[in-house]
Amino acid sequence: MSAIHLRNLVKKFGDFTALKTMDLEIPDGEFMALLGPSGCGKSTTMNMIAGMEEPTSGKILFGERDMAGVPMGRRGVGFVFQNYAIFTHMSVRQNLAYGPSMRGAGKAEIDRRVGAIAEMLQLSPLLDRKADRLSVNILQRVAIGRSAIMEPAIFLLDEPLSNVDAAFRAVMRTELKQLQRQFRQTMVYVTHDQLEAMTMADRIAVMDHGVLQQVGTPLEVYNNPANVFVARFIGAPGMNLIKGKPAASDRGLVIDLGPLGVTPPLPDELASAVRAVRGDVLYGFRPEQVGLAERGLSMPVTFVERIGARTIVHLGEGESAVKAVFENDVGLSIGQTAVVAPPASSVRVFDAATGLAVKAG
């Protein structure tokens, strides 16, 4: 068991900076997801933890141990590759036994450990099958078993579900989460799929353009995004953000959204924080939290997506376009005008100049 500390980690490839000063603490036994669009530096971070790449500067510590110069074979890290990297010329048994036999373990010990891990992963009946003719979920279990047999303190998973079709992904998410509960290791999981991150991770580190944007539990990241990027990236669809100016009114502080009129007054704690912002702000709220109201933002319906249980209604155009998600078909159609209002408690405000969230209180 081991905690991971990343301190001032920087990685440059020539002129290109893949990772700009990353600081991250991953406590022992935590399931941490590194989430971000492709090219955000999440895989680079993972490869540096594994020792496949050397950081340009900064430190990686496992517990108290500095990993600088420790080769990847000696880090005690289990790594599950995107395509599993199963040794296709070997049997399942040989795959599982690979690590111990490379370290010179005796035959009896190897048999015992392979037997135990196969039992745990329900691979026992498949031990003598050739690894090149296995289905994806079995390959995944072999990949995990092959690493787990080394009893690594740290498990790294590089988008292990990206090659799997959508229906199967749900099954494998559950399976992975159960495995993590069994193994109780520190897990770092790289993904670009927020659903995977939200459902499996204890905490999520959202990254973009080589910069760590926010670290928090899935609900923290969803409810209180630290900046505009996280607000838009998390959630499907992402958070609605409309530019406006804070303005005083007799009901309290409101945001003047220009042609859309003014918003309902902000809650007191948020209002006092917003007063300190100079210049424009972004008025944000989740599409799922929008309700039809008597008073609120009056906007024309431009498009309606019906996806079974939910209906996504597109409102307005250009910079003030907004999406609203309803649990049932609300009977809106294109051309109608809808009056929508987010509940005051779910409103988030961002500084338009810096993109950072304006924190209440």
């Binding site: 594994a50 496949m52 080769p71 990847m72 074979g73 000696r74 890290v77 289990g78 790594f79 590759f81 995107q82 395509n83 990297a85 199963i86 040794f87 296709t88 010329h89 070997m90 690979y98 690590g99 490379m102 370290r103 090149d132 092959r146 690493s147 080394m150």
Partner: protein, 318 residues
Amino acid sequence: MSAVTATISEDKMGTARAKPAQRDEGARLGFRLTLPAQVLVLFISAFPLLMQLYISVTDWSPLSGIGWWNAWEMWNSFANYTDLAADTRFWSALQRTAVVMLVCVPAEFLLGLALATLFADDFPGKRIFYSILLMPMMVVPAVAGYMFFMLFQSGGPVNDILSRVVGGPVTIAWLSDPTLALIAVMIADIWQWTPLMFLILLAGLVGVPEDQMKAATLLGANAWQRFTTIVLPKMKTIIIIALAIRVIENFKIFDTLYIMTGGGPGVATETISVYIYKVTTQDLIWGYVAAIALAILIVLSIVAVYAMKRLAAARQGA
């Protein structure tokens, strides 16, 4: 009730019977349509073989004054084959060929593999070295023969370099010494054919999946363990192909060697091809040549069949 079942089963049997019959019909038509091409291919591949077989049981030679098709008049039962069994020059040529093969092919393989391992990674000037390395393969074997003929002269560059290294005059008569001549010939073959081995093995080596190598490293395998447990098993098929190509080609070693030594001194470098060539052009006993050629064909076929079997096994294993 029973009548109904009877019709159904009859019907089933009917369709079951009709399908293979139709397939047979199609196959038969296809066979008939491709018959001319088949005959041609069969003729091209089988005719020289059959002709050889025919001549090999006669005393026929071009000087016999009769066409080869009339060679039956000179039928000598299997005297050529019994002669062959007792021909010490043939057996020593065969043995020599085997020695050359057992030295050259492993040397080419190991050198090729080492070079391929080197070239699998990047290093400065890789492209230039790559081109230089492939050049021997493109040299016409006869030209390579002349090159090495000159290199190994008593006053040639090899001795020149050696004398510089030793610091005194070196005058080794490479091509006149029975053992050294054989060594010189083998060096020429290794020089010319290592590049082919390198090229084939490099193709196999770059095909080894990089992530599996990384996975092995993460599981604690060192470079040698990775090589033996991942790289070699993955390259098994291509190694068998490369070895089979070189074994068969090396068995037929002729042009470079003949130009360098002419099989000499004496019969010191006389391989099976050189021996056949001499019997054909000097002794003109073609019936006997045909018998030798057939014997060699059988030996090489056994090698090829063995290689194919190993290949099939490796494919199933890979």
